[in-house]
């Protein structure tokens, strides 16, 4: 602690104990949901033995009412027993009814602190507060709590601002950040060293180029089916009618079944686009000494604060399209960031090469990729194109097989085969480009790995201390030429592996300094 550490008399200024938001009661009901079985079974049996009068009905269901009241009572009691304590040293969450559990995360171990306001929580002024540690997966290594907005604001003030002449609590002690006066908090806070605010066009470009049709289709199907249950069959039929009309529109150009499929894909992509666009609208990424902050969102507001030293790796990501257009995006991975699709893991959106480099140098100067030192040998070209070439070559055979055995779908199979061939060709192009760009490098501090997964190109920049395991794998056909695949694993919770293919084994061993 610094020389201005508050004394015991002032300790109360630097700790905050707060109760969870009452909406937690609804979440707590899931712990006692098994009790619903009792009134359910009784309800079924009483429905089978019907009698006419209200008092007769009540005399039958009073036990069910009692059990439901018990469930609600237990959920309320559980809510009353939850407390979050924010002090100078740690974040502590105390939960549990009969089995009390205290989870404490020291400040210097917390990787990410986030405040998430989903649009459904806005009317209730509730905020989801999460704290993650590095390598956290599942509930055990994470603090997660629903708080009142005012409590969340107070915690933010405690964490990131400080009374006069104090260092902010959520910054490493060894760093001495510059301080500026924060008018909102009426306290000093660490000075932002760089800030990035993308324009709406950049956000649209990111959404356009990275939207996922499949996730959009899933989202739509859940929305349509659930809305039908909630709002009735008419609404559901109206929605599906929209898809029918869209399919009829495409029928002019395509076979009917293919038209329906295309309409669905396009609708799914549009939903994915809107979701991503709304998620990144108003996006802001701030770099302070010791702390990185990413926030944004329209209906659901996200605010994540990442300890700079806990960033596991930076991923410079491109698709084939953005590679041709020379656009780059930067993604970060830390504890609690980059683990789910809904995360704000993209911190620099699609930017042109020169501008991207200047923004990256200002925000994250320590993650500077190094030129390739180990590259795939030209004799390994076949390894890169083998899979997509086989896929492409098999398309006409599969088409012949299907049209021979399933009569009446020739048009659809022709369309599907053309689409599959186009996809395989795209995959082939990605792998050819990967052959010319992939490789590994190490400059004493950073590992730089260039590789591709699926249809994306990655340049992963990993600090030496964050590399957990190096694997050098040789397949049967790689052993004669002494080639290998280099796989690097970091401390990320998702078991993410960075794989560079077909490198010379001796060069890799020299790079990793292994005799």
């Amino acid at each position: 602690m610094t020389e201005n550490t508050p004394s015991a008399l002032n300790y109360s200024l630097y700790s905050k104990s707060c109760r969870a938001h009452p909406l937690t009661i609804l979440a707590n009901l899931r712990h006692v949901l098994f009790l619903v079985l009792i009134p359910l079974i009784r309800g079924i049996s009483s429905a089978l033995a019907r009698t006419g009068s209200y008092s007769a009905w009540l005399s039958r269901v009073w036990t069910d009412v009692l059990i439901l009241a018990l469930m609600l009572g237990l959920a309320v009691w559980l809510w009353l027993r939850v407390r979050l304590i924010v002090s100078l040293k740690a974040l502590t969450l105390i939960t549990g009814l009969f089995v009390r559990r205290t989870v404490s995360i020291p400040f210097d171990k917390a990787a990410t602190v986030s405040f998430l306001t989903h649009f459904s929580l806005l009317p209730f002024k509730a905020v989801r507060f999460n704290t993650d540690v590095p390598g956290a997966s599942g509930r055990k290594n994470r603090l997660s709590l629903l708080l009142w907005q005012k409590d969340a604001d107070e915690i933010k003030r405690l964490l990131f601002c400080s009374p006069e002449k104090q260092e902010p609590m959520y910054v490493k002690e060894s760093q001495k950040p510059g301080m500026t006066w924060c008018a909102n908090c009426e306290r000093l806070e660490a000075t932002p060293s760089a800030e990035y605010r993308p324009t709406a066009g950049k956000i649209a470009a990111l959404s356009l180029l990275t939207s996922n049709s499949f996730s959009g289709i899933l989202y739509m199907s859940v929305f349509v089916s659930q809305s039908g249950k909630i709002l009735g069959g008419e609404f559901s039929r109206a929605l599906t009618g929209v898809f029918d009309r869209a399919a009829h529109f495409f029928e002019i150009f395509l076979p009917p079944l293919a038209a329906a499929f295309s309409a669905l894909l396009l609708a799914g992509w549009a939903v994915g686009f809107m979701r991503l666009f709304l998620r990144y609208s108003g996006f802001r990424f701030v770099s302070r000494s010791g702390l990185l902050t990413a926030c944004g969102g329209v209906f659901s507001r996200h605010e994540r604060h990442i300890r700079r030293s806990e960033v596991l790796f930076a991923d410079f990501r491109q698709s084939f399209t953005t590679k041709l257009l020379r656009l780059y995006s930067l993604y970060l991975c830390a504890g609690g960031v980059g683990e789910k699709k809904s995360d704000y893991s993209c911190v620099i959106l699609t930017e042109k090469s020169a501008r991207f480099e200047s923004i990256r140098a200002a925000l994250l100067p320590e993650y500077s990729p190094v030129v390739r030192q180990v590259k795939p040998d030209r004799r390994c070209f076949l390894r890169f194109i083998y899979t997509p070439a086989v896929l492409l070559a098999s398309v006409p055979f599969v088409y012949k097989l299907l049209t021979r055995h399933l009569v009446g779908f020739d048009d659809f199979f022709a369309f599907a085969s053309a689409m599959t061939a186009a996809l395989a060709l795209w995959f082939l192009a990605v792998n050819v480009a990967d052959f010319f760009t992939s490789g590994a490098a190490f400059d004493g501090k950073l590992y730089t790995l260039r590789y591709s997964t699926g249809f994306s190109f990655h340049t992963a920049v990993i600090l030496k201390e964050n590399a957990a395991l190096f694997e050098i794998k040789q397949g049967l056909f790689q052993r004669p030429g002494a080639y290998c695949d280099l796989i690097v694993r970091t401390k990320a919770a998702r078991r993410q592996a960075h794989r560079c293919r077909s490198l010379k084994k001796t060069e890799v061993l020299r790079l990793l300094n292994i005799s």
Partner: protein, 141 residues
Amino acid sequence: MSKPSPKILTVWRIRLTIIAIIPALALTPRHQAMTPARAVFAASFTIVYLAFFLFYLPSLYKSLSYQIDENTLVFTCGVICKKMAAMPLCSVQTVSVTSLPLCRAFGLLSLRAAAANSRLKLPGLHKKEAEALAERLKTGH
């Protein structure tokens, strides 16, 4: 590079035999005639068992080796696909030494080193060897 004890090969062979006994007994006809299909299946089963017993397991043992220097623990293994794993000592988070009853009968232990979401397992170590290695991994040098 150091190698695990050759006794681990014996342990693997015993394990293989135990695993193979149950399906072998299930396939053996008691009161029925040996049909051609059963004969082919039994012959294939025997060939696979012998291939593992005589070729695969010895090759696996031959490929196993480990090395520890001031910065890294390196482990190699693999018969068809060769694998070399290098774990920086500074990233090792937990070290555990375990032994199953069969390994204990031969005085062998397995050492597991885990970093965040990565694991290395070194089988077939003698007790002193395993303890010395574990101590080195715990201290980080």
